[in-house]
């Protein structure tokens, strides 16, 4: 992006983590449970919970809303598969593969860095591994998923990604953030 070429070079603690496809699934609980099962999960995820079985990640976004990340499988193969599993269940399955991008932020001090813009308490005792939440990073909406004590997966709408990355890099100057 020409205007964003002035952005500082990407630091080691920030990387791209895009899955092959993404879907937003909405519906009533039986539909959500059926989808979870079709994706190979034993059950649906609980409130603010994310799960990853290697093939798919299932993230709780709201009581009737899930985000599905398919690490390898493209949208065109996956959509019919989920739709079949949901036959008979009223639901909405919408391909958002390209709506957003994924970033992995991983490093010592990453929690504080995220707390430069995210107002939630990200202490590991309050925001444990595999907790996920839609929230804000300053003026950008993000979905935050803790993958480890010092690692978060971030989903962000495509056009906000530049803002998000610039802010992280700017804020990192004042914090002891180091690549793991």
């Amino acid at each position: 992006m020409s205007e964003s070429n002035t952005a500082p070079r990407t630091p080691g603690w920030l990387s791209v983590a895009n899955p092959a496809s993404r879907f937003v699934l909405q519906g009533e609980l039986p539909a959500l449970a059926a989808a979870a099962s079709a994706l190979g999960f034993e059950s649906d995820v609980g409130t603010n919970e994310a799960r990853d079985n290697g093939q798919f990640a299932l993230l709780w976004l709201g009581p009737d809303e899930r985000l599905i990340l398919a690490w390898q499988e493209g949208a065109r193969q996956l959509a019919p598969r989920i739709a079949n599993a949901l036959a008979g269940h009223a639901h909405s399955l919408v391909d958002v593969t390209h709506r957003q991008v994924s970033r992995c932020v991983r490093g010592e001090g990453i929690t504080e860095l995220l707390n430069c813009g995210c107002p939630q308490d990200l202490d590991i005792t309050q925001f444990a591994v595999d907790r996920c939440s839609r929230t804000l990073y300053n003026k950008a909406e993000i979905v935050l998923w803790r993958r480890g004590p010092n690692e978060f997966h971030v989903e962000i709408w495509r056009s906000y990604a530049d803002y998000f990355e610039r802010w992280l890099i700017e804020a990192a100057q004042d914090l002891p953030v180091s690549t793991l």
Binding site: V96, N115, C116, P119, Y163
Partner: protein
């Protein structure tokens, strides 16, 4: 060694001398000094001129409560901070400070003539003196007052420093690292709580900093502070923030902290933020903010060299500075006795010690006398002498009639005053906690908390070091238990062994108002130059409420928030009003506790980070083709594509012609898109939009109009049915978020029974519009065999397919009046696809166009833009969209409101076209319209221009307007009054081009 520096002692580093300048003169201090202590060590007492009278002012305190010693600290022209308290400015090598509010120099200030006219400047003088003539206020009085009255000047250059912001959470936040705060932190941390401890000074210890005699658990106070701090720092659950002021207490235990990161450094590391703004959310808050010593009110109590007793002790013990050699001490409480002894021991001569209280036979007085100090009870200071520094005081005994007896003069170079300690309840008051008046202490102390908060130590009137430590420890234990939900900690009773007299904040044991001494220039509020006489005047003129007296006299309204003035003012006012203090009330303490820089609030949100800058997937393509961008909401949109130094007018004219004659290509990705999906999607759409959707076939689209329930147009856009249970809704660029929010509102709260769900897909799709007679010729070869002929894909048809293998949702739509397509492809493919389309179209004359051309083309067709041709008071019929309404629908959002008589009146403002008589005149958008020429103001306005352009296609200007009863005025001449004269216009249809739509259906 400076003349006033002691050879040993204090918390300064004598191995690190620091050079600094004040008003251009060089001085030397030491690491550990503040600007105030370093200047005092150099014998400098004159630091500034007062706000209103330009009186010389010095250093009164040793902390954030300082009302007088305000300075400007300058690193360079841009890094220049006014109104800093010299008592808080840490010295560093090369520090460069200036006094304020003086001209031409501090020692000789022309503005001091204000004092000669002080009789003309009583309380409320600006309400009275400068009322007439009215016009003179802006031109004369205000600039004059602004020039002479005031504080420092803000720098003119942009702030080059960086500022950081941080959210933080903790179980227990402790404000103040004095004895109570440290004990609280220790106890809370020991119980496993996440603790944040902040203190505004560079060193922890609070009142212990000025104490070298107390022993805590067998340690000196310094050892105990260092040991406790080391323990806290070693605990990973504890964060200690020094140089950090808690400036604001916000609802639900959110505290604003301002941390100063680099101001104390001679050479801040480049790139390091200067300040960090913390927003701390604490489960429990402990305020351990200490107490503030109060000045005495007597005539001439503001001269440089007159300071608080506790401040002198702080300079002596903490900075090893003797602020004077011939000292007069005046006190209304016991703590000054210790100050006198300490100064005497350090080599100063206490030339007179006076206790204002009526008893003359106190044992403490006798004890001082034994040290050779002349001391008396029941005396008053009735006047002071000296111009730029105090040189003497007049003292007298006041008899029952108020007359001065036994008056005598004493020469001195330092006057210490002590009016008792007052709990610092600012943050408590900000938290909306209820203050309680303590009759014994004559001060307000925290009463009932409004938040999960507790005060500890001197800030709640606890006197004595041992009690303060224990109070802090108890608060720390209780707060930790409350935050962690563990067992009640009330049993906790940690013991501290304390010996030797510690500096204990002391109340007055005589009525506070009684110690104030009337006379000229007896200042109550030093920063705003408010005297006892001003308060008297306010009472005399009928002000009864302390809130009114405050505003009339401006007492307590300066940047120091009345830290050294509120209580004296209140007590005096209460006495004058003949009321009890609590009946008169206390004014609210406002945030910030001490001033916070604007830049700190802005933080990183400057420049590129002020707002997200949203760019479409085809942004680079537009840049390559020379686009000039405009901001549309947060988006950057290509406005036009100038070639060969074209101006916008020429570029737009060329782009318009290209679309009408050949074809144009346009990035429409910013349009909002919402997937409305579910078995009840049709029903939901029927209820939301004015249109009838039941009969819309899959593969067809329709122009939809969305109203609010008040009947006014809210948004519009093309809606496609892509499956029986799935609609692809488009919204305006600016409406994307609010339309989705409105739909969610109805879906969740009004029609929760409908099985339908909404998902924003705005950024899923890149949208490329191909518009113009050659659009199909360009597109057809690229769509992998898909039939896009007029028969297969008629106007408003929608089809899924691929474009050179890329999945595509193809709309045949037109916002230009020409044959048009909108190619939707996955966002990640947008750049590739637009390049392919552009390359394929070049031989057909395909031309990139921007939003400006889009606006002209749509206006030629009479298509409205939401928010430009509508303003939230426009019905569908007003803008000619009544045809879109599904007539047989029982209900939809806005339908009921449209049935109100006022929504159907014939004189409503209706959208019409306007043609100027002179085809070259392009009307100004927003210009008002009248129906008869030659009107004088106030004219009868009947409408306004909403859109106006030069139309290259038509060869004349075009405009759209909303005009009362506009459709009945077709062919009439109306007038647009402008500064240059009236412009006659003719009302016409808003559809200027191809009214039959022949060009669409090809």
């Amino acid at each position: 060694m400076s003349a006033w520096r002691l050879p040993s002692g204090g918390h300064i580093d004598r191995s690190r001398p620091l050079r600094f300048t004040f008003d251009g003169r060089s001085y030397t201090g030491y690491a550990g000094d503040t600007l105030a202590s370093a200047l005092l060590a150099n014998g400098v007492h004159l630091l500034g001129r007062s706000f209103k009278y330009h009186r010389p002012r010095g250093i009164m305190t040793a902390g954030p409560e300082e009302p007088c010693a305000l300075v400007t600290v300058r690193r360079d022209e841009a890094r220049c901070t006014p109104n800093l308290r010299a008592t808080q400015v840490e010295l560093h090598e090369g520090l460069c400070a200036y006094s304020q509010n003086r001209w031409p120099s501090l020692a000789f200030d022309v503005g001091q003539i204000a004092e000669w006219f002080s009789a003309l400047l009583p309380a409320g003088f600006y309400y009275k003196t400068f009322m007439w003539p009215r016009s003179a206020w802006h031109k004369l009085y205000e600039p004059l007052i602004r020039r002479t009255a005031g504080l420092g000047k803000a720098p003119k250059l942009a702030d080059p420093d960086r500022y950081a912001q941080q959210y933080a959470h903790c179980d227990v936040l402790i404000v103040g690292a004095g004895p109570a705060g440290l004990a609280a932190a220790q106890e809370a941390a020991a119980r496993g709580a996440r603790v944040i401890l902040c203190d505004e000074r560079a060193h922890s210890g609070g009142s212990l900093l000025a104490d070298d005699r107390a022993r805590i658990d067998g340690q000196t106070s310094a050892e105990w502070v260092d040991g406790t701090m080391a323990q806290l720092r070693a605990n990973p659950r504890v964060r200690v923030l020094q140089r950090t002021t808690a400036f604001g207490y916000f609802p639900h235990n959110l505290m604003g902290l301002s941390e100063r990161l680099t101001d104390h450094l001679a050479a801040p590391p480049p790139g390091l933020a200067r300040e960090r703004l913390w927003q701390v959310r604490a489960r429990e808050v402990i305020l351990a903010t200490g107490a503030i010593e109060q000045p005495l009110v007597f005539p001439g109590n503001d001269r440089p060299g007159i300071m608080l007793g506790g401040a002198a002790l702080h300079y002596l013990k903490h900075h090893a500075v003797l602020p004077g050699r011939r000292v007069v001490v005046a006190t209304a409480c016991d703590s000054a006795y210790r100050v006198a002894r300490a100064l005497q021991a350090a080599g100063a001569q206490i030339v007179q010690f006076i206790d204002l209280r009526p008893q003359t036979d106190r044992p403490a007085l006798a004890a001082l006398r034994e040290l050779g100090i002349r001391c008396d009870g029941d005396l008053r200071i009735v006047g002071t002498r000296g111009s730029n520094r105090v040189t003497g005081v007049d003292i007298a005994r006041i008899d029952a009639t108020g007359a001065a007896r036994e008056q005598r003069s004493i020469d001195c170079d330092l006057v210490l005053m002590s009016g008792g300690y007052v709990p610092s309840v600012h943050l408590f008051s900000q938290s909306r906690g209820r203050l309680r008046y303590d009759e014994t202490l004559q001060v307000f102390v925290p009463g009932e908390s409004a938040e999960r908060e507790r005060s500890a130590g001197a800030c709640r009137g606890i006197a004595g070091l041992a009690d303060a430590l224990q109070d802090g420890a108890r608060a720390g234990a209780a707060a930790a238990s409350a935050a962690l939900g563990t067992a009640d900690a009330s049993a906790a009773n940690p013991a501290f062994t304390v010996d030797a007299a510690a500096p204990t904040p002391e109340p007055l044991d005589v009525p506070r108002a009684s110690v104030a001494m009337h006379g000229p220039k007896a200042f109550v509020d030093f920063q705003h130059d408010v005297t006892l006489r001003d308060l008297d005047l306010a009472v005399r003129e009928g002000f009864r409420s302390i809130e009114h007296i405050k505003r009339y006299t401006t007492t307590g309204m300066a940047t120091d928030q009345g830290k050294t003035s509120n209580l004296n003012a209140l007590h005096h006012a209460a006495r004058e009003l003949g009321q009890a203090v609590p009946a008169v009330g206390l004014t609210t303490f406002r945030m910030p506790y001490t001033p916070v820089t604007f830049a700190s609030f802005a933080g990183q949100a400057r420049g590129e980070l002020f707002d997200p800058v949203r760019r479409t997937p085809m942004h680079d393509w537009a840049v390559q083709h020379g686009a000039v961008f405009e901001d549309v909401g947060l988006w950057k949109r290509a406005r036009y594509f100038p070639r060969d130094n074209e101006d916008m007018h020429a570029a737009v004219a060329r782009e318009c012609r290209a679309v009408r004659e050949h074809c144009g290509i346009f990035d429409a990705s910013t349009l909002g898109k919402i997937a409305v999906v579910g078995p009840d999607a049709v029903e939901f759409m029927n209820r939301m939009y004015v249109n009838e959707w039941s009969k819309l076939a899959v593969g067809r689209s329709k122009y939809g109009v969305l109203l609010r329930d008040d009947g006014f147009v809210y948004d519009d856009g093309v809606v496609a049915r892509v499956a029986a249970d799935r609609f692809h809704v488009t919204t305006t660029t600016g409406g994307a978020a609010r339309v989705l929010a409105m739909m969610e509102d109805y879906r969740q709260t009004e029609w929760a029974d409908l099985k339908v769900w909404l998902t924003s897909t705005t950024e899923e799709w890149a949208v490329i519009a191909l518009q113009g007679p050659r659009a199909r010729d360009i597109l057809a070869p690229l769509v992998d065999g898909l039939d896009i002929s007029a028969a297969a894909l008629p106007h408003m048809g929608v089809v899924e397919g691929t474009l050179q293998g890329v999945p595509m949702l193809l709309f045949r739509v037109s916002f230009t009046g020409e044959l048009g397509f909108e190619v939707n492809v996955p966002a990640a493919e947008g750049a590739k696809v637009i390049a392919a389309l552009h390359a394929a179209g070049e031989r057909f004359g395909l031309t990139p166009y921007g939003t400006e051309t889009m606006h002209v083309l749509r206006a030629e067709k009479g298509f409205i833009i939401i928010g430009q041709d509508t303003d939230g008071t426009v019905t569908p019929d007003d803008v000619g969209l009544a045809w879109a309404i599904g007539k047989s629908k029982r209900d939809f959002v806005g339908k009921r409101a449209l049935a109100r008589p006022s929504m159907q009146q014939s004189d409503r403002k209706q959208l019409v076209g306007l043609r100027t008589r002179d085809p070259h005149i392009v009307l100004e958008e927003g210009a008002q319209i009248v129906d008869t020429p030659g009107q004088r103001a106030p004219m009868t306005l009947i409408g306004h221009v909403t859109s106006s352009y030069a139309s290259a296609t038509l060869g004349h200007s075009i405009a759209m307007a909303v005009i009362a009863g506009g459709r009945a005025r077709m062919g009439h001449t109306l007038y647009v009054p402008m500064p240059g004269g009236e412009i006659p216009v003719e009302v016409c249809s808003p559809v200027f081009y191809d009214p039959q739509g022949a060009r669409l259906n090809v």
